[in-house]
Amino acid sequence: MSLSKIKHIVLVLSGKGGVGKSSVTTQLALSLSLAGHSVGVLDVDLTGPSIPRMFGIEDAKVTQAPGGWLPITVHDADSATGIGSLRVMSLGFLLPRRGDAVVWRGPKKTAMVRQFLSDVFWDELDFLLIDTPPGTSDEHISLAETLLQKARPDQLAGAVVVTTPQAVATADVRKELNFCTKTGIKVIGVIENMSGFICPNCSECTNIFMSGGGEVMANDFGVCFLGRVPIDPQFLVLIETGKTPRYPEGTEVNGQDISTPAQEPDADGAVKETVLLVHKYQDCSLAPIFKTMTADVISAAQQTSRS
């Protein structure tokens, strides 16, 4: 059983698409790794896998070993900097061409989810994060079924539910919270993503998708509210181009000045960047926010495994 050596399993869920499940999963993974934990990320969004792109490993191919698949290593554990290893598995790695559609009906998706849960050699992991597609359908039912059957109750820490603040999004996410209740998956907490946008030009904060909706929803359902994450275009730039985030002077997030002094570019005009994604992420304005939320997730997971 490939899940046996995993300490905690955390699901990332949302009823709504495009609220940032994959980017939240990515950032949780990076933050957990920064905290020194070994992390695995499993992407079960079969028809739209985004995780390979998020970690910049789109070209990677999965290696087959007797009896299973080996996940892709993003980086190994490094005791000098205190980071834990980070490994990823996604359907994206199995596709011959990146633009190809995966047109699968339910039963096929169910079989794939089961296979992903049982046939990937994760080895020893502190945390396995499972990124899901939007909705409450085949993938989710199969995932819940398989996990409740095969994982030990102390392993299954629960679900982090992601939403955006506007009412249209929370309406769908409320359904997801009900799904968790019905299937008996514990909700670790709600993250409100895309809550406000700080203009890089004048550092004015605008609530594009309003603000506060996630917190209200969490209170309605009596679940923990993990926090608000603003929109940071620099994070997207980091993901898409690999540039270390830089902020203009006077940028404040949660009252903390995070502006970076302009760096001297190299002689050839570009800043040489060979550092790992996880180190570059430390400079992102979202890193401190996720650090706090990750701490909450860790303590929730540890509580579950103790009880």
Binding site: G17, V103, G106, P107, A111, T136, S137, Q166, C202, E240
Partner: protein, 341 residues
């Protein structure tokens, strides 16, 4: 057994297998099952030794007998347009509603909106009909009316509580979509807009299968500018090509955000690879336009109001009008007539 790294099932196979009632099986489908509803069921090589083999082989083969019923029901619908995107949260439902409002500004035009997003229906909220229920008469189910000439159908109308989760597997979702087409009294419509969930799965295959015979005008693709989103939309375009659904065009949503304080245009979802326009060129499909990110669109959706009526002068509204006109031209109508200046 070692997991297989075989190529994913060919799309053509899935598309060629018409949707039928799944036969009652005695054991769960094995992993290499060709699909109990497929032509190969019970006779494929992989069926040897399966306890279901006899049942599958005996199941009726051939096209779904309900398809002619659907075609008859939709005979009065002039244009059927799908709104698709591989990616979630890019504004499919928002765009569907905006399009519906735009078409419905002409009191002579009747518009229908069908929400096939079973697990996350947003259309009723956006059109302000969230608390409606479905009435059943001898003629069929009557849709909810958001305006005198705007009919809406969604699973949300059937839920006892607003927040109830719909925990359904594929076949059940297909059944409901079929009912939406077969049992709903759509009547004479100028446009039927079909909003879809993200992805390329059961819902999309069903809509395509059921509507094929009565004719789909085409699909509008919605995307946001960043590559993470384009990646999924590319898959959706591939799906349309393989299912031979005409692509009417690509709309880029959430293009730029104008800071209300300093009027600086921010590319929040930065188009590092050229955005929607470049993808449209790459794929050889019409580019219908980009719509800037305007918080007021989201607000109008939350309150179920028409953005066109509430903020007619905003840049987003001007851009949307352009998109609607372009789309009308693609469907073979006069853009100026549909969306006057």
């Amino acid at each position: 057994m070692a997991p297989s790294l075989e190529e994913p099932e060919a799309v053509q196979d899935v598309l060629a297998n018409p949707l039928k009632q799944k036969p009652q099986l005695v054991a769960p489908e094995p992993e290499h099952c060709p699909g109990p509803e497929s032509e190969q069921a019970g006779v494929a090589d992989s069926c040897a030794g399966c306890p279901n083999q006899k049942i599958c082989a005996a199941a009726p083969k051939g096209p779904d007998p309900d398809i002619p019923v659907i075609t008859a029901r939709l005979a009065g619908v002039r244009h059927k347009i799908l709104i698709l995107s591989g990616k979630g949260g890019v504004g499919k439902s928002t765009f569907t509603c905006l399009l519906a409002h735009a078409f419905a500004t002409n009191p002579e035009t009747t518009v229908g909106v069908m929400d096939t997003d079973i697990c996350g229906p947003s259309i009723p909220k956006m059109l302000g009909v969230e608390s409606e229920t479905i009435h059943v008469s001898s003629a069929g189910w009557s849709p909810a009316w958001a305006m005198d000439n705007l009919a809406v159908m969604s699973i949300q109308f059937m839920l006892p509580n607003r927040d109830d989760a719909i925990i359904w597997r594929g076949p059940k979702k297909n059944g409901l979509i079929k009912q939406f087409l077969k049992d709903v009294e759509w009547g004479d419509l100028d446009f039927l807009l079909v909003d879809t969930p993200p992805g390329t799965s059961d819902e999309h295959l069903s809509v395509n299968t059921f509507l094929k015979e009565s004719g789909i005008d085409g699909a509008v693709m919605v995307t946001t500018p960043q590559e993470v989103s384009l990646l999924d939309v590319r898959k959706e375009i591939d799906f349309c090509r393989k299912a031979s659904i005409r692509i009417l065009g690509l709309v880029e949503n959430m293009s730029a955000f104008i800071c209300p304080k300093c009027a600086h245009a921010n590319e929040i979802f930065r188009a590092t690879t050229g955005g929607g326009r470049a993808l449209a060129v790459e794929m050889g499909i019409p580019f219908l336009g980009s719509v800037p990110l305007d918080p007021r669109i989201g607000m109008a959706c939350d309150y179920g109001e028409s953005f066109f009526d509430s903020f007619p002068d905003s840049p987003a509204c001007v851009a949307l009008k352009g998109v609607v006109r372009e789309l009308a031209v693609q469907v073979g109508l006069d853009g100026k007539e549909i969306m006057p200046e």
